[in-house]
């Protein structure tokens, strides 16, 4: 097998392991689904009638970002228990495969939450067009790529519950700007390009730096 095939095989095995763990423990996904849905319901009743769609889109992104944060906070919990992360670090696979596998698994969870959130948003607030959906997809990739790296950093520290939001939220601001812009601006394509560039730059950074994050 070529090096690339082996790398892809490692990534798939690691992501599949996370999905299997979630199917068994159901620690993360149900919490994310309930959170995003209940947040949108609360926003629905909290907003005055006649509030502009622009404001509603902002609230959608608040709900999505904090839902992602909920998932990211749990992302490395299975690796913390029993020192499994050390087991992965010792393995001769490329360490970036550990990050990529985790990113894919978190992306699956976040996508599932968005599949609930977007219809609920359309029901409660405003219709969602294809550009807005593309914005959600691109922003989700960025959220998971950056978030998985930062969650690994936070997982190694004592104050992980505080550190993760402190690290993640500032870096998520461009994603929120891009996501909201794609949803409400007539120049949605510009925002999609911006999100694509963000994903590319931060995915490469996370891929290249992960090894240094997980070793003492």
């Amino acid at each position: 097998m070529s090096a690339l095939t082996l790398y892809a095989s490692d990534v798939v095995a690691l992501a599949r392991k996370d999905l299997r763990l979630e199917l068994r423990a159901r620690d993360t996904l149900p919490a994310m689904l309930l959170f995003v849905l209940s947040t949108l319901v609360v926003f629905h009743f909290a907003l005055p009638t006649g509030t502009a769609d622009d404001a509603a889109y902002g609230l959608l992104w608040i709900a999505l970002i904090f839902t992602a944060l909920l998932g990211l906070a749990r992302a490395w919990a299975p690796e913390r228990e029993g020192g499994a992360l050390d087991g992965l670090v010792l393995a001769p696979c490329d360490r970036s495969a550990i990050w990529l596998g985790k990113t894919l698994a978190v992306l699956v969870f976040l996508t599932a939450a968005e599949l609930v959130a977007l219809p609920a948003f359309a029901l409660f607030f405003a219709p969602v067009d294809l550009v807005a959906v593309a914005g959600v997809v691109l922003a989700s990739i960025g959220i998971c790529a950056v978030g998985s790296l930062l969650a690994a950093m936070a997982a190694a520290s004592r104050g992980r519950e505080v550190i993760l939001p402190l690290l993640f939220l500032p870096l998520a601001i461009p994603l929120i700007v891009g996501g909201v812009g794609a949803g409400i601006s007539p120049e949605g394509a510009t925002y999609l390009t911006f999100l694509g560039l963000y994903d590319l730059v931060f995915a490469i950074l996370a891929w290249a730096t992960f090894e240094y994050v997980i070793t003492e």
């Binding site: 095989s9 299997r20 763990l21 029993g82 020192g83 050390d86 010792l90 001769p92 696979c93 003492e216």
Partner: protein, 205 residues
Amino acid sequence: MIDVAAAAAGPVVLGEGLEKRYGRKRVLRGVSFAVPRGGFLVVTGANGAGKTTLLRLVAGLAAPTGGVLEVSGDRRDLGFVGHEPLVYQELTALENLELFGRLYRVADRRERSGMLLERFGLWDARSDRVSTYSRGMIQRLALCRALLHDPALLVLDEPFTALDEDGAGVLDMELSALAGERTVMLSTHDPARVEALATDRLVLA
């Protein structure tokens, strides 16, 4: 030119003046040792002397803050047992060994997993989640994981911890079989147990 014969005869693990600090706390200070190919180094010392830190450095799980550490080979050549089992609690023993066997590129991982689980008395519990295991069973699984890829260098941090007499007996036999063929670094509070196998000793103060 590289002298291949000399390189092969050189130590598998060499530490010179090793130092490790965590912030202002110095855990290791000026530790020097060498483990030749096929050697069996027993590391002893009081609690807090730095045994675990030293073995984590050798395993590559931490980097020294001073001194020189050379470990021949790559991660594929190393088997490590630490204070934690390094396995997933919500996977079964077989699933854990399948995952790590894949990451270690073990071609016959199913057969080898089965053989190790049988040898360490875990075959009947192979499909149970690790979270349901006793401490001793978890330690046995940790040993299976460390031996799965047949490593040339075994780094074992107090491997007898939590094992009952049966488990300790199996580990005794494994170590006896590996001694001389594989290079072993082992920390223990009971050096008498491995006295017959030891070729070198390192006492950390």
